[in-house]
Amino acid sequence: MQVALFITCFNDTLFPNTGKAVVSIVERLGHQVIFPEEQTCCGQMHFNTGYQAEAMPLIRRFVEIFSQYEAIVSPSASCVGMVRDMYRFAAEVHHDTKLANEVALLAERVYEFSEFIVNRLGIQDVGAYYPHRVTYHPTCHSLRGIKVGDAPEQLLRAVRGIDYVPLTQSNECCGFGGTFAVKNADTSMAMLGDKIRHILDTRAEVCVAADNSCLMHIGGALHRQRSGVRIAHLAEILAAQE
C-alpha cells in the first residue's frame, strides 16, 4: 500500500524524529511511504483559536494536496481530528457544500498512526524492542476526539522488553489545549501539575503519547523540574529495535 505521510508542521519542525520513526515502521511493515512536500499546516491552531478566516485557505490547500491518496497517516491525533471532524464544521460555517463533500471523501482515509497500524493493518506487534519502564498518556484528541481506543496500548504491550506501567487518572487532560496553555497559563499549569505528579508516581523513565504537542507541554515541565523523565512519541518507541 502507498501511504501518504501527513507529518504536520509542528512535528516537521520540532519533532522530526517522530516522522523518521513513522517512516521506518511503515516501511518495515512492507508499505511504501510518500511524503507530499507541498504540505504545510492543516490550520488547526488558527481554527481552534478563532482565526477561521485565516484557517480556510490552509484547509482548502490541505484538501487539494491530500485528496489523491489512498491512505493518509499522521503521528498527531489532534491534527487528524482537525481534518476528520473540524473540516466538516469549517465547511459548514462557510456554507461551502463543495468543500464539505470533498472533506467527507477525504476524512475516512485519514488515520492517526496507531489506529492505522492496529485497525487498518491489523497489526499489534511491529517487532520493536525497548527495555525501559514506560507509561502512556492518552491525549484528549486521541481518546475522546478521534477515539483511537486502546490501539496505542496494544502496540506498547507487544513491545519486547518493555515495562509498561499504566497511568492513574490517565484520561484527564494535561492542560495543553493549544493556545489555552498560554492564554490560561495558570489553569493550564494547575492541570499539568497533577499530570506530572501521576507520571512521577509511575516511576517510568519515559512518558509516551500520540501527540507531540501535549508531550511538549508535559516534557517542558518534566525538564524544568529536572525530573529525569523523558518524553517520546509512541512511534519512536515502536521504531526502536535490538
Binding site: D12, T13, E37, G50, C140, R144, M191, G219, H223
Partner: protein, 480 residues
C-alpha cells in the same frame, strides 16, 4: 445582540484573571477536587448500568432538535394546555419583563415574603434583587442556596451552588446565622438544622416561586426534579405558585419524560433517580396552590436559536455533568466564570446570551479536551460550539482598528501567510533554527523571547532541531 445592561454577567474580571486567583486558593482546590472526583465516580457507575445509555442520549438529542425546530408551535400548545388546566401563562421577552410580571403577581397577593425552590432561571434574571427593591423578601429553601444566601456569596455550581464550601465551613456559618453553637459538622445534623430553620416558612408563607426542569406541551404539565423535599413544600403548601421557565425547557409529549427522567438524575447527582420529582398540571382541586402562573422567558434564547451552531446549547437540561467532569472547572471553581452558569455549559451559554463582545474570555476557558461532550446527556458538542464562538470573538475583534496593533492577531495573520506556500514555510523553518541559538541551553529554551516567553515563564521549550523532517526526507531521497 448587544446587551450591556444584561443581567447575567456580573462585573466580573476576565476568566483568566479570576482563574489565576482561584488556582492559588489551595482550600478551594481541595474542596473542588474532592467533590468533583466523588460525583464523577457516581455518575459513571449509574450510567454504565444502563445498556441503552447511548440510545437514550441520541433520543434526548432528537427530541430537543425537534423542540427547537418547532418551538413556536410547542409554546402555543403549552399555553393552551396550561390555560385549560386553570393556570395562567405570561410571556417575558427579557429579565426586566419577567421580574415585573413576578413582582406584580406577588404584590397582588398582598404577601411581602415568598419561598423559592432553587431555580437557575430566576438567578439568571436576578429575581431576588428585583423583589428586594419592591419590598419583597425571597427565602431560598434549597440547602445549598440557603448556605449561599446566609453567607452572602454567589453560587459556584448550577446544581450544588455551595460546592466550594466544605462541611466545617458550613457548620461555622450555621452556628452563627442560626444561633446553634453546639452544631457539629455531621452532614446529617447540618441538614436537620436547615429543616428546623425553614419549617415555619413552609407552613406559613403564601406565595412560592420555582423554575421548571421540563414542561410538557401535550398535557400542560410542569416538572420539578429535586432531592430535599423543599421543592415539594414550595409546590404544595402555598396558595399561589409562580413558575419562571426558559422557553427551551419544553418537551413535546408526556412520554418524552421517560427519556429525560433517566438522563437527568443519572447525569446530575449520579443517582438512578433523585429523591423527589413533582409533576403538576395547572391547578388541582383541593390539592396544592389554587393559583398558578407560568412565566415563559426568552432573555436572549431566541438569539441562540438563530445561530445554527450555537442552537444546540438550548438542548441543555442543566444536569451539570459537564461541569463536574471539566478539568478547568475543577481547578478554578465556578466564580471565575463570572456568571450564574459556570463550567463548560457556562462557557458556551453566557457569551451567547449576553453577546460574545461582553464575555469574550469565556470561549477560551477550555482546553477543548472534550470530556464535557462525552458526558453530556443530550450530546451537545460543547467543543464545537466553543470553537464557533472563538471564531465570533476574533471576527468581532478584527473589525476594530485596535486589532492592527494586536500581537496575537498580527502573529496569526503572519503565520497564515507563511503557511500558504511551501517556500515561505520552509524559509520560516530555517529562520527559526538560526534565530533561536542565543536562547538554547542543553536542547531546551528556558527563557524565550517575545511570545515564546509566555510559554517559558511556566515550562521549558524544546529547541528546534537543526534538520527538519522534510530536509531529512529530501536528503534521504537524494542518497537513494
Amino acid at each position: 445582540m448587544k446587551k450591556p445592561e444584561s443581567v447575567i454577567i456580573e462585573l466580573a474580571p476576565r476568566f483568566e484573571v479570576g482563574a489565576k486567583a482561584a488556582v492559588q486558593n489551595t482550600q478551594l482546590r481541595r474542596n473542588m477536587g474532592k467533590a468533583t472526583q466523588t460525583i464523577r465516580g457516581k455518575r459513571a457507575g449509574v450510567v454504565d448500568e444502563l445498556a441503552d445509555w447511548e440510545s437514550l442520549r441520541v433520543a434526548g438529542q432528537h427530541i430537543k432538535d425537534d423542540v427547537m425546530q418547532h418551538l413556536d408551535t410547542y409554546l402555543i400548545q403549552l399555553e393552551a394546555t396550561v390555560t385549560q388546566s386553570g393556570g395562567h401563562v405570561h410571556w417575558a421577552k427579557d429579565a426586566h419583563e419577567a421580574n415585573e410580571i413576578v413582582t406584580r403577581l406577588i404584590k397582588a397577593t398582598g404577601s411581602t415574603e415568598i419561598i423559592k425552590v432553587k431555580s437557575l432561571t430566576t438567578d439568571e434574571i436576578r429575581l431576588n434583587e428585583a423583589l428586594e427593591l419592591a419590598g419583597i423578601t425571597a427565602i431560598e429553601t434549597d440547602l445549598a442556596e440557603l448556605i449561599i444566601q446566609l453567607a452572602h456569596e454567589k453560587s459556584s455550581h448550577i446544581l450544588v451552588p455551595a460546592i466550594h464550601k466544605n462541611r466545617s465551613e458550613i457548620r461555622a456559618l450555621f452556628q452563627k446565622s442560626m444561633n446553634l453553637p453546639d452544631l457539629t459538622d455531621e452532614p446529617k445534623e447540618l441538614a436537620a438544622a436547615a429543616r428546623q430553620f425553614l419549617r415555619d416558612k413552609f407552613m406559613s408563607v403564601r406565595v412560592a416561586t420555582s423554575g421548571a426542569n421540563f414542561a410538557i406541551a401535550e398535557t400542560g404539565s410542569v416538572c420539578v426534579v429535586e432531592s430535599e423535599g423543599n421543592g415539594r413544600m414550595c409546590l404544595t403548601m402555598p396558595e399561589v405558585l409562580i413558575t419562571v421557565m426558559g422557553i427551551e425547557k419544553i418537551l413535546p409529549r408526556w412520554q418524552d419524560l421517560g427519556v429525560f427522567m433517566q438522563l437527568l438524575p443519572r447525569s446530575s447527582t449520579g443517582e438512578r433517580m433523585n429523591p423527589y420529582t413533582s409533576i403538576w398540571t395547572g391547578v388541582h382541586a383541593d390539592d396544592g396552590p389554587q393559583e398558578f402562573h407560568l412565566v415563559l422567558l426568552d432573555n436572549g434564547r431566541s438569539d441562540v436559536l438563530a445561530d445554527a451552531v450555537g442552537r444546540q446549547t438550548l438542548h441543555c437540561i442543566r444536569c451539570s455533568a459537564c461541569i463536574n467532569v471539566c478539568p478547568v472547572y475543577e481547578r478554578t471553581g465556578g466564580h471565575a466564570y463570572g456568571s450564574v452558569y459556570p463550567g463548560p455549559i457556562g462557557a458556551i451559554l453566557t457569551p451567547q446570551l449576553v453577546g460574545t463582545a461582553h464575555a469574550d474570555s469565556l470561549p477560551y476557558a477550555s482546553s477543548l479536551c472534550g470530556a464535557c461532550y462525552d458526558v453530556c446527556p443530550v450530546r451537545i458538542n460543547i467543543p464545537e460550539v466553543l470553537v464557533h464562538l472563538r471564531g465570533k470573538v476574533v471576527a468581532e475583534k478584527q473589525t476594530q482598528p485596535q486589532s492592527w496593533f494586536d500581537g496575537e492577531n498580527l502573529g496569526m495573520k503572519a503565520m497564515a501567510t507563511t503557511f500558504a506556500h511551501r517556500t515561505t514555510y520552509e524559509l520560516a523553518q530555517h529562520a527559526g533554527q538560526l534565530a533561536q541559538w542565543p536562547f538554547v541551553h542543553d536542547g531546551y529554551i528556558e527563557n524565550g523571547p517575545g511570545p515564546l516567553g509566555k510559554w517559558t515563564a511556566m515550562r521549558d521549550f524544546p529547541a528546534i532541531p537543526a534538520q527538519s523532517f522534510r530536509d531529512w526526507w529530501r536528503e534521504r531521497q537524494r542518497d537513494e
